[in-house]
Amino acid sequence: MRYIPTTEQDRKDMLKSIGLQSMEGLFDDVPDRVRLQGELNLPSAQTEYELFKSLKSLAEKNNNLEQYPSFLGAGAYGHLIPSAVQHILSRSEFYTAYTPYQPEISQGVLQAIYEYQSLICSLTGMDVANASLYDGATALAEAAVLAGEATKRKKIFLPMTIHPEYRMVTQLYLENRGMEVIQIPHDKGQTDLNYLKDNINEEIAGVLIQQPNFFGILEEVKEVASLTQKFGALLVVSVNPISLGILEAPGHYGADIAVGEGQGLGNPVAFGGPFLGFFATRDRFIRQIPGRIVGATKDIEGKRGFVLTLQTREQHIRRQRASSNICSNQALNALAATVFLCLVGKKGLQEVANLCLQKAHYAYRKITSIKGYSPLFTQPFFHEFPIQTPDSPEVINKVLLEKGIIGGLDLKRHYPELGPSMLLCVTEARTKKEIDTLVQALENYHE
């Protein structure tokens, strides 16, 4: 077996040295009744080359986005990834390390996390960030939990304009902790502010909002913030980090916690994972933050160094009273985000956000001018928009696929009340030609 160096001779010598006759003797303590009789029923072992070939053919059964221009978004975004990102992630000093428990030999990952935390703070306008959570959905859920703990209140407002999967996850996290979720309806694709005004009170722990929301539409976050503050609730904003190249940072309009899906920062869509949830908040909540935090300090010779800090919040010390059970997070994905942000830099982030904005609006203008396709909502949006379709999106997407295009998300499963409609996303990765091909295909379909 190529990953096990132990030879037959080694085995004999080692058994002899521990006073055993055979390998069986190592398992004397496993009762017969729980011993597996025979072998596991698994496919037989393959050589490296066989594996490469069989996995390649499995991968090729998928239509991948390098061959098929896609207009899918909805929480997983196909952005350009600079080559340098993958090269850094491939450094095995990073990817074959464990969580940095021994700081003296883990300064690489610790400093990178410190830089990540700082970059996330700069992006979101917050004071402190953790080392990452599993994804955007669990980050939102953990933020809602913190809102409950910090305010000692039990009710959370959860707008229907938040990503449906994020809502499911948040609901699961909250209700099992004895918290109550109150859904806020939407009004033309935006959180219904009148509902919020009429129902918010001093029992509400937090208001969650997604900016831009699931439909790509911008929420009136400043109004939401002032309403939330008035009643002493916390405002949790889930943001798209790429949009922060042009959209206001949550820290600048009164958010108490800013979270979001960090995938767009240098991580591929990868069938939905691994991604990373970023989590940033105000100084005053630092001791309630879930997960790892890295802090700068000095060694005994006065040299700057980095350590995991404020660990008394965490499960390995506080056990059942920990702020979260999270242990492994998404360190390598956070490293990708760090390298990505350093590569694109201050200008690049503004450029990519503007490219998304321009291209999405170009596509929107073109598509909504086709007979049979009309905007579902008309509020300002970033790089995603829902359109009403003349036929079921399922049928339309089939036709698009024949033309080599992956169309938008059918909204039927999560918003059946909206009628036949499709959520389209356009990033900087799409060319004008690809958008025009999509438009042409939609036009022809209607004819």
């Binding site: 096990i4 496993v30 000093e93 700069s122 080392a131 940072a249 999270i326 690049g348």
Partner: protein
């Protein structure tokens, strides 16, 4: 490693106007931003990101990588973490564009390869666990525990017993994530003491278990590296009062092809794919924590499951009793690809050889160390064992000091101060991918350190000396909190 200078922070290297990446030119008619988005939504001051060239960014992170220790650098016997070698083919395969460049919301006809992989991986994991169905959704071991506890809750709720069954029994030797996961689900933790042999005490268990018990969480072998020989009796006691058994899969590397949690009586099992199945740990993730369950619990698994009909794989959301979703989309897919590749590269016999060799290596190393270190449970161990540094403590040397001295000799130290029930604990897990010479050399250094502890304890208390940085002031990190460079610059 010792001559590396302090690496500047990326923020200290920035120079306005430098660029490392260029985006394509805009090719659509350009509109003014505030014609598209009202001013009130727009950012007034751009995020102050660093400005550097590609070379500078690459050198910075390459230098940082050189300050880091991974399995590819050397021996990493970190107990409970299964830091085995990570085969390179796994990494290559996970980079195929047919895996990295597929969107989670593509229609099923366009993702048959991905669905097939998930379906088959689920089957393999069920076979290895001896259970019926599995979800691949949880992102890490602790996330799997959380999911498993919710499945337990869903099951009891379905039988109308959720109000009375509020307690989860956990041994005092358990991983910290166990009690934390339990309380995240709104359950109460009831701790059970280990007996003098380091095992669950059956008499205490009988007293604690009752109609209020939702279940028991256990790892087997336990965190002392010992096989719970009474596992069938434990299962019987818990099942007889109507509770369920949850298996913490952190120690699965001892069991592959030898014994299966399902056959031991466990109802719910989580795997740590980043441990047992060698998808690397990434310096703190991404991991993956699939959950396998018995037939009667399958309906409670998170949605969707991958099912097959007429040779077509599809996402099945039609599980009305499902607990819902614990994460967006379907799990850490690329990690699943690596675990799948690993299982296919070994097959049944290879997996069994993994566990046999892991157990052999642990026992061999344990016997090389028992002369100089106290071995609190002197019996054959499984894939790991726990030493106590209490003999060295009498010379004023702590487990921490031993760990730090190991850094000087080029090793990653064992897990220290865990499990909590062993004084000055050092938990050592060599894994199957280390050769005999490495084990011999490590034992030699450990024994050398034991000698130093007697002859020159100060040497240990001041270690390490050869690392890029010496011992760090953790108290200062808390007192003078500095977790965000920009805040400091304000």
């Amino acid at each position: 490693m010792n001559n590396v200078n302090e690496v500047p922070l990326i923020f200290e290297m920035t120079s306005p106007g430098r660029r490392a990446y260029e985006y394509p030119q805009n090719d659509v008619p350009l509109e003014k931003i505030n014609d598209l988005i009202p001013d009130r939504f727009l950012r007034k001051k751009p995020a102050d990101l660093p400005e550097l060239s590609e070379n500078e960014v690459i050198r910075h992170f390459t230098q940082l990588s050189r300050l880091n220790y991974g399995v590819d650098v050397g021996f990493y016997p970190l107990g409970s973490c299964t830091m085995k070698y990570n085969p390179k083919i796994n990494e290559d395969v996970a980079k195929f564009s047919g895996f990295t460049s597929i969107h989670p919301y593509q229609t099923e006809e366009t993702i048959q390869g991905a669905l097939q992989l998930m379906h088959e991986l689920e089957k393999y994991l069920c076979e290895i666990a001896g259970l019926h169905r599995a979800t691949l959704q949880p992102a890490a071991g602790a996330h799997g525990e959380f999911t498993g506890m919710l499945i337990m809750k869903g099951f009891h709720a379905d039988r109308g017993e959720n109000q009375v069954r509020r307690e989860i029994i956990i041994p005092d030797s358990a991983h910290g994530t166990n009690p934390a996961s339990v309380s995240m689900c709104g359950y109460q933790v009831v701790e059970i003491k280990s007996n003098s042999r380091g095992m669950v005490d059956l008499e205490s268990l009988k007293k604690i278990a009752g109609s209020q018990t939702a279940g028991l969480m256990l790892t087997n072998p336990n965190t002392l590296g010992l096989f719970e020989e009474d596992i069938l009796k434990i299962a019987e006691i818990v099942h007889n009062v109507g509770g369920l058994l949850y298996y913490d899969g952190a120690n699965m590397n001892a069991n592959l092809g030898i014994t299966r949690p399902g056959d031991m009586g466990f109802d719910i099992v989580h795997f740590n794919l980043h441990k047992t199945f060698s998808t690397p740990h990434g310096g703190g993730g991404p991991g993956s924590g699939p959950i396998a369950v018995t037939k009667e619990l399958a309906d409670f698994l998170p949605i969707p499951l991958v099912d097959v009909k007429n040779n077509n794989y599809y996402f099945n959301y039609n599980y009305p009793k499902s607990i819902g979703k614990v994460k967006s989309f379907y799990g850490n897919f690329l990690v699943l690809v690596k675990a799948y590749t690993y299982i296919r590269s070994l097959g049944a016999r290879g997996l069994r050889e993994v566990s046999e060799t892991a157990v052999l290596n642990a026992n061999y190393l344990m016997r090389l160390l028992e002369k100089n270190y106290h071995l609190p449970f002197n019996q054959a161990c499984k894939h790991e064992f726990v030493l106590s540094g209490k003999r060295q403590k009498s010379h004023g040397v702590r487990a921490l000091d031993i760990a730090k001295r190991l850094l000087d000799y080029g090793y990653h130290p064992p897990t220290i101060y865990f499990p909590l029930i062993v004084e000055e604990a050092m938990m050592i897990e060599p894994t199957e991918t280390e050769n005999k010479e490495t084990l011999d050399k490590f034992a030699h250094m450990m024994n050398e350190i034991a000698r130093e502890a007697v002859e020159n304890p100060d040497k240990l208390k001041n270690a390490p000396f050869n690392t890029p940085i010496r011992r760090l002031d953790e108290a200062r990190a808390v007192k003078e909190l500095d977790v965000n460079w920009y805040n400091k610059m304000k």
